[in-house]
């Protein structure tokens, strides 16, 4: 990061790592009174070299480090890696395993969006009522995960060849009950949070990203869909069981923070519909094909897998060299692209210092997958 020249009437503030609301990153802002003239996102505080770690783990061992990249919805990112490995090694996945994978991915998506709500609401002023409700509602989902996989956050459940275990007894009824409970709770969220006029005043017209700018700058996920662009990997290149499921891609036209909030809200509703469909219509069969514990790859194979995480599109690209471990794993994360869009927002509209956390959390960054 080069140090640009600073004009004397502009004050440079380090909205820095030691700040109650900045997350694990530093954002340098050039402030002139209350108007922010320039944003520089100084990322890299949480770089752990996950791509290098994966070069030192065999294909099955690699499912454990990769999901420590994004803790809020570990399912989607683990699925990206596992699908790339399956494509590189030529492994087939049974139908039932694909449906279980979709179920877990959708539960992870709801988990992540609820967490994003909590943060988006907290940054507008410690709005105490809603922030901890989302934590409590995520408990319902985490209990479901624990019954299915044995762990609450880092389940390590996807394995090349399928999933590690089948659904336990009575799990489909529990999924239905959880879906009903969450649907009832969303009415409260809608009334207290989204329809709250002061909250709307904070979010409307703030951080507007037009359709052309979103495409030109490379936004992804709810940021892109909040500006009116209809792109979702689950519909464009269906993976797991999404080809057989019926859901809508939510877009909003305005492109401001409020639109992104509504996109996430309605996406949760769509995910709940998907969970119900899966609980009703899941096919039978085996959940795992037999794969050796240490599979060996063929040399010179490239495999790319794209998944739609809660924050946007994620790509995992694997290169093999004939050994037990991959030669190179390249991960293209959604937050990195969205942080670039965030930096350009100061030039596109008039951002005040007070708007900065609101815009930042409407982009929903997760710095661990930005820095890998």
């Amino acid at each position: 990061m080069t140090e640009p020249e600073i004009k004397p009437e502009v004050m440079r503030i380090s909205w820095g790592p030691q700040h109650p609301m900045s997350g694990q990153t530093r954002i340098l802002i050039d402030v002139d009174g209350e108007v922010v003239r320039r944003i520089i996102a100084d990322i890299g505080f949480t770089h752990r070299g996950i791509e290098k770690i994966l070069e030192n783990r065999t294909f099955i061992q690699g499912i454990v480090p990769i999901e420590r990249m994004v803790m809020a919805d570990t399912a989607n990112i683990a699925l990206g890696y596992v699908q790339a490995v399956e494509e590189a090694l030529g492994i087939e996945v049974p139908e039932r395993a694909k449906w279980i994978r979709s179920l877990i991915c959708e539960m992870g998506r709801i988990n992540s969006h609820l967490y994003a709500f909590g943060l988006q609401v907290e940054c507008t002023g410690y709005f105490p009522a809603v922030f901890l409700w989302t934590t409590v509602d995520r408990e319902v989902l985490l209990d479901l995960f624990e019954k299915l996989t044995g762990a609450r956050w880092s389940y390590s459940f996807f394995i090349p060849g399928g999933v590690r275990a089948d659904l336990p007894e009575g799990f489909r009824d529990e999924v239905r009950r959880a879906v009903e409970y969450l649907r009832r709770r969303f009415q409260d969220y809608w009334d207290a949070m989204v329809e709250n006029p002061l909250f709307e005043m904070r979010n409307r017209g703030v951080g507007v990203l037009s359709r052309e700018d979103a495409i030109r700058l490379g936004a992804t996920g709810p940021v892109l869909r909040g500006s009116g662009v209809d792109m979702d990997v689950r519909k464009d290149e269906p993976y797991a069981a999404y080809g057989d499921l019926d859901f809508k891609v939510i877009t909003e036209r305005e492109g401001d923070c409020f639109a992104r909030l509504k996109v996430r809200f309605h996406e949760i509703e769509q995910s709940l519909n998907i969970m119900e469909q899966i609980a009703d219509e899941i096919p039978g069969g085996p959940v795992r094909t037999k794969v050796p514990l240490f599979p060996r790859s063929k040399p010179g194979v490239e495999a790319l897998s794209r998944v739609e995480t809660a924050r946007g599109e994620l790509g995992v690209h694997i290169f093999t060299d004939g050994g037990l471990k991959p030669y190179r794993v390249k991960i293209n994360s959604p937050t990195l692209r969205n942080m670039y869009v965030f930096e350009r927002l100061a030039e596109l509209n008039r951002v005040l210092v007070a708007d900065l956390p609101v815009i930042l959390y409407s982009i929903d960054p997760w710095y661990l997958d930005c820095d890998r």
């Binding site: 454990v64 408990e139 319902v140 624990e146 299915l148 009334d191 329809e195």
Partner: protein, 156 residues
């Protein structure tokens, strides 16, 4: 006028929450009951282990090392809980099912070397009352019409 109605609505939504039961688990007076698939501390069955070493090979965190045990032949796994990520791949890999996982998660120790559990220590899992003498209740979450509550399953 709808502005004022929307202004007052959050009060009516939030105020009833004051009367609901809290969602806090008052650990260590209470402890949750986990499912039977829960991945906690390991339990090693010394008679079933065939010293194949697959658990040590598959561990992604390199936490398992095979060490000899007094009074027995062959080497048994020793697990370092300072680096173990509780992923359970070793349990899947064990061909005889000697290694299983319990729901015990109280690992705290005063020294890092105390976190390395030898095979004999892995073979005996202490009772929860020894580790948490102040435990009074075991609870479980249940979804009712309005909220998620914790119901008491067992009083100690």
């Amino acid at each position: 006028m709808s502005f004022f109605k929307k202004l007052v609505k959050p009060f009516l939504v939030v105020a009833p929450y004051v009367a609901r039961s809290s969602q806090t688990v008052k650990y260590p007076d209470e402890r949750l009951i986990f499912s039977e698939r829960f991945r906690g501390r390991h339990h090693l069955d010394l008679d079933k282990c065939i010293h194949c070493g697959l658990c040590a090979r598959i561990c992604p965190c390199a936490s398992i090392v095979l060490v000899p045990v007094e009074g027995r032949e062959g080497k048994y796994p020793q697990i370092d809980y300072g680096t173990c990520s509780l992923c359970g791949l070793c349990v899947d890999a064990c061909p005889r099912g000697a290694l299983t996982m319990t729901d015990f998660v109280e690992f705290s120790a005063y020294k890092r070397s105390d976190l390395v559990y030898s095979p004999e220590r892995l073979a005996e899992v202490p009772d929860i009352k020894e580790v948490l003498p102040m435990l009074k209740r075991r609870i479980r979450p249940v979804l009712t019409d309005k909220e998620m509550k914790y119901e008491v399953v067992e009083e100690l």
